[in-house]
Subunit: 110 residues, 2 copies
């Protein structure tokens, strides 16, 4: 029960920064969806397909991301996402917002 509680809370915290994480990863390198899932899993940010695909579409529709198709010899073509200029701007705003929240919690929890 308590365990469940905590898992719930963790995933809630993660959810809050998920979009931030995605833009952060893409800021370093373009990536396709499955690749993103693995990179985020490595960073202990769990995200599943049913969450990521709609989210990427949303961010693309907001003009934060663009994509291109690339052939693969290993299977079907890959949809590589890349940050747009607007995406980079928003990422900077996210940096600020994140900093504020971290400071807020420092104070609340001091």
């Amino acid at each position: 029960m308590t365990e469940n509680n905590i898992e719930n809370i963790k995933s809630q915290m993660r959810r809050g920064v998920l979009e931030y994480c995605i833009l952060s990863v893409l800021d370093k390198n373009d990536a396709y969806a499955s690749e993103l899932i693995n990179k985020l899993k490595d960073a202990h940010i769990i995200v599943v397909e049913g969450t990521l695909y709609p989210l990427l579409t949303r961010q693309k529709n907001q003009g934060l991301l663009a994509y291109r198709w690339e052939e693969s010899t290993q299977g079907p073509p890959r949809k590589y996402y890349t940050l747009t200029d607007k995406g980079r701007e928003v990422l900077q705003e996210m940096d600020k917002a994140w900093k504020e929240i971290v400071e807020t919690l420092d104070i609340l929890r001091k």
Copy 2:
């Protein structure tokens, strides 16, 4: 539009830590709902009644909080919430979870 975007993102981040903030505030002092709203507003964590009341009830049902009624000379009686032992345990788990996420983002955003 972009502004809206950012507001959205900020509130998403805040949401992720809302329960953490509530327990943190109550860890310092017992408080009643309206008081909590003001304290959180001061800390730039916006939360409205329609969000807070169900949330407090949930946390109480999970055994994290208890409450007592206190008379007030200024209006209707106040429902003072207080952390339970379990609430304090969970708060410590939240501290860990939060630390992890902050570290994760440090790495992702380095």
